[in-house]
């Protein structure tokens, strides 16, 4: 997909204030939280981005909008990747779920929820998936102490 295609995509997908760029062959969109689901729906339905590759987050502790939720989509037709970045605030880190569009989002949102504490509106099963029940805190946040352990089995006497 060449630069003019990128322009087309940018104009069609983010008509508002969103930005788009090309990074190592991946089209990158920066979106507002409200724009995410409509943009993904259009990418899937009109531009054949049929695969949700990954869903994760980045913690920027110094920023007001602390968490950057990152989605990667792939089009098996066009062989093109798209990255969508959305910022949410630490006080209320909520973003719309993509479960209705991609079934595979369910597990990835569960992981993102336990690791970063981001809630996904519309995903009703946000139980821990890699961690365990009773784990306190979100270990991939930058302020989680590196050495804090939460053992399930009591340690033996030294």
């Amino acid at each position: 997909m060449a630069a003019n295609d990128l322009d087309t995509l940018r104009r069609q997908i983010v008509p508002a204030a969103g930005a788009a760029a090309l990074s190592h062959g991946t089209i990158v969109f920066v979106l507002a939280p409200a724009e995410l689901v409509p943009a993904v729906a259009r990418l899937r339905d009109e531009f054949a981005f049929d695969l949700l590759l990954d869903l994760t987050a980045v913690d920027w502790p110094a920023d007001a909008l602390r968490f950057e939720v990152v989605h990667h989509l792939y089009s098996t037709t066009h062989k093109v990747r798209v990255r969508l970045k959305t910022r949410v605030a630490a006080a209320d880190p909520v973003i719309d779920s993509l479960v209705a569009l991609y079934g595979s989002a369910a597990y990835m949102e569960r992981e993102c929820h336990e690791m970063y504490g981001i809630r996904f509106r519309g995903n009703h099963d946000l139980r821990p998936i890699l961690l365990y029940e009773g784990f306190i805190g979100h270990p991939l946040r930058k302020d989680y102490p590196k050495r804090r352990e939460q053992p399930l089995v009591p340690y033996r006497e030294a």
């Binding site: 590196k146 804090r148 399930l152 340690y155």
Partner: protein, 177 residues
Amino acid sequence: MDARTIPIVPIAPAGARAPKDGAFEFLVTRKDEMIGWARKFSLFPYPFVTACCAMEFMAVSASPYDTDRFGAALPRFSPRQADLLMVVGTVTHKQAPVLLKVWEQMCEPKWVMAFGACATSGGFYQNYATLQGIDQIIPVDVYVPGCPPRPETVIDGIMQLQDKIARSHHPVVAGRF
């Protein structure tokens, strides 16, 4: 006299004719030494394999190195039939209750080998997820370092464990003898 230096002496029973070929009819030894000798060559390992060290475990089990030479080759996949728990790889906090349950299900006498850096100390993982060595939750008899350990290191660990078993008191039988 140190008990370990008691020689093994052939004793002819009273009135018996001495065998013509001079073969031993009786041996005298110590109970602990005999049981230790028997136990050290009949280790039934339970491989609790969680990570990449498994590749090295396969290498040391297979023909070129062949732990069968040490009587420690037949893996039992039920902890109730095993007496050597080989913890091969990283153990997470989420997995720790499983490891403890497996260890508790093993009958006495039992021994534990920490196979590789992660089982020994957590290895290079020091984070929210990783148990910093299995000796935090269960007693360990022999630690095999390495990431992963070379087969020679594992064999050395098995031989050291065998020495430990041979030198041990074996109290389970002592109560009945």
